[in-house]
Symmetry: C2
């Protein structure tokens, strides 16, 4: 692998700044400078700030441990648990100052930035689909609470996780994440 291109460095810097501060709290110039790129070179690389945010979301989506969910050789409940544990470890590592970039930008921009809204929708759909597959397997093994539909429950869990991460950012401790784990793995999955 060669050195990252200027373009890649800008996407990385955007991901980092948006993740910590949100989208509207930081400007294109700040991002370009923190990437070590030349002032004014931004539009050589991206059509718009929004287009850059879409790439940041896509890059971030590759880092949320979906590979753990994809490993269908493993027990479905255990791989859901391991996936969440992976995410918890990262949130703790960042001292609860960074949540989920996908959820944060979805929250901030769904009304005003249609390209970002679409990228967030795609990312959440991909995530949900993998959770749904694991829930279908769990259901076959009799480990999904009776009466629950795997597709609906998958959406519910991905959303509940986003809400847990949101509350974590507010309270700045892991209690909301533990609440998610306890309630999910007691009442929805066994």
């Amino acid at each position: 692998m060669g050195r990252p291109s200027i373009r890649e460095k800008i996407v990385e810097a955007a991901l980092d700044r948006f993740h910590l501060l949100g989208y509207n709290a930081c400007g294109v110039q700040e991002i370009v400078e923190s990437a070590g790129a030349l002032k004014g070179s931004f539009y050589n690389h991206f059509k718009s700030k929004e287009a850059m945010a879409v790439e940041a979301i896509e890059r971030y989506g590759q880092s949320v441990g979906l590979d753990i969910l994809m490993d269908e050789t493993r027990d479905p409940v255990q791989r859901l648990r391991d996936h969440v544990d992976f995410l918890v470890t990262r949130l703790v590592h960042h001292d609860f100052e960074r949540g989920c970039l996908i959820g944060s930008l979805g929250n901030e921009l769904s009304h005003s930035a249609p390209l970002v809204r679409e990228a967030v929708e795609r990312a959440l759909d991909q995530w949900t689909e993998l959770v749904e597959k694991a829930l279908r397997e769990a259901q076959r093994d009799g480990r999904l609470a009776s009466g629950l539909d795997p597709a609906r429950t998958a959406r519910f869990l991905v959303n509940a996780w986003q809400g847990a991460v949101l509350r974590m950012k507010v309270v700045k401790n892991r209690e909301p994440l533990d609440d998610f784990l306890e309630v999910t793995f007691r009442s929805i999955l066994r």
Copy 2:
């Protein structure tokens, strides 16, 4: 009741703009003008934009149907259900373009605006406490899934609701709200 004061009008306008666009996407001047106040009069009324946001959150908190949860003469599961139905009706009324101001500002500002973070924490705690009371009653009636702690489950549900509202803003339909209702009232409460 007299006419709303300029100060009240500014808080209302801030609530309206922050609810639709978020905090960093709209400026103090835009809010003051949309309240019909004189340009430049803002700092006669508020110490800062952040202090105004705290008041907007407190005002918004009075409109989320907590009175429905407070009515302890009524069946606890039914009043939880009615409370959520009340919120769903309002989200539908706004064509899914506005989520929950408390969650939105918590998500956007927990890192950068400590007074807002505290106001969001207070609002979510108050909400959670009322849900917890209803869950304790439901548990006495044998209607809370076995093995669940009411305090933890109350936090989980308030957070899961925030996540459902976030996804609703992204997909712009009521599916995430229905997912919340179905899974909650099948697996957690009966």
